[in-house]
Symmetry: C2
Subunit: 249 residues, 2 copies
Amino acid sequence: MPPAKKKSPSSPASPPTHHQPQACGQDFAKPLVTVDVVIFTVQAQRLQVLLVRRPTGEGEPCPGMLALPGGFVDVERDATLLDCAVRKLRDKTGLHTHHLEQLGSWGSAGRDPRGWSVTQVYMALVPAPDTASAQWLDVDAACASPLAFDHATLLNAALARLRSKVEYTSLPAFLLPEPFTLPQLQQVYEVVLGRALDKSAFRKRMLDSGFLAEVGTVDGTAPRKAMGYRIRDRSQATVFPRTFRSGES
Amino acid sequence: MPPAKKKSPSSPASPPTHHQPQACGQDFAKPLVTVDVVIFTVQAQRLQVLLVRRPTGEGEPCPGMLALPGGFVDVERDATLLDCAVRKLRDKTGLHTHHLEQLGSWGSAGRDPRGWSVTQVYMALVPAPDTASAQWLDVDAACASPLAFDHATLLNAALARLRSKVEYTSLPAFLLPEPFTLPQLQQVYEVVLGRALDKSAFRKRMLDSGFLAEVGTVDGTAPRKAMGYRIRDRSQATVFPRTFRSGES
DNA sequence: AAAATAGTGTCTTTGAGACAGTATGAC
DNA sequence: GTCATACTGTCTCAAAGACACTATTTT
């Protein structure tokens, strides 16, 4: 390593040799580690995101502002990052995990006034809750509001990821309670994408890819009965061979 | 720490009110935060990855084992996680960043014997270095070797991401020094994918997508001269409308 | 029967795969 | 010239888009 610059912690480096098991276990400063979850649902034909209000106690950063649900990793309780995300999701929604994927991490010296911090961001898709809670905001409204920390950046990243994946995966199915009909599923796709899709092409794609299982004619969001479907394998989304609107030309 | 369970540090929570600016700035234990970089190149028709040997000092975890280059985030030097990854890349290869993307983060109580740790993994693609360094290993060899910590998992994740993206993006172009010819580019695709591609379809895809700029006939890995190309926009990879071998059937 | 939506069929277009064929330059 | 490789063309195929059509259920 270069002479001038000191031997700062390199490679998963050793704490300086005179290691003393102290509070933090390392001699140099550690960043704060948090997990934030971007929880999406579709309700009333709108893509919505769950936000919470920051506490207003003294010393609290961004008091009273809207923020993504999340918080510090608890090294006592959380065995893994994913466990931590599942816990946050459960605490905030009471829902079980329909789809939870890691988005990425954001870390810098300035994003939290309390110090160098890094947050691991997860994206969750859940069906619309029965009780319309005031915590859900239309994504447009959420993006237009001032959010705590760099949560606007995180939300935008999640939105970009969701919209991108909706073009070529079965992800939106996780936004619906089962069983659902193909017209309902198409509507969810259209809400997320913000544009209309061709019915025939949509049905062909969904049925040919075989990720749906028939579950008997059900329901009626319409004058006519329709076939109900459930997701054959909830553990992962299906990837389609092409994106929608391949050549926008 | 909280009594029985609840109300542990919630949302980017406040440190308990009696906050005293101490070594760690928080009253509860913080995880270790590291950055690891999976650096790929193609050399001698092989996909290779850069690995380093863990130091053998006393108290060092996994002494002498092969590991991904990386290390602790230095809150004094690194303004952001990306800066930290760029620094690791520069220190290990001396190369500038041809392509550097975040893969994800892995965090758990057990992955590092020194305590709860979370690593942010980046994937870098660089052209083959002039001097064949001993640090480069064929990925097959690397996957077959025992690696430090959970680095085998991280390497496999990076490989999966790379192979997946190669199916539908221009990523492999970042593995070549400019200018390169289409046959050379095709060879890189084939090395990463591990299968042959049709020449005609390959050329159509590359040229139609328009991410290459002609730079004059050059070179000769072959008896005949070929057109040289450079990447028009190095800031991002181009996404193709379909994957290779769409229906493997 | 009318209305409204579920679901199907048929034609076109895009872009990939297969594969044969032509062009160019070293020897 | 021959040889090896760069490059092009033509046919087929898979899946998406456009859009008209039939089917089913409530009123």
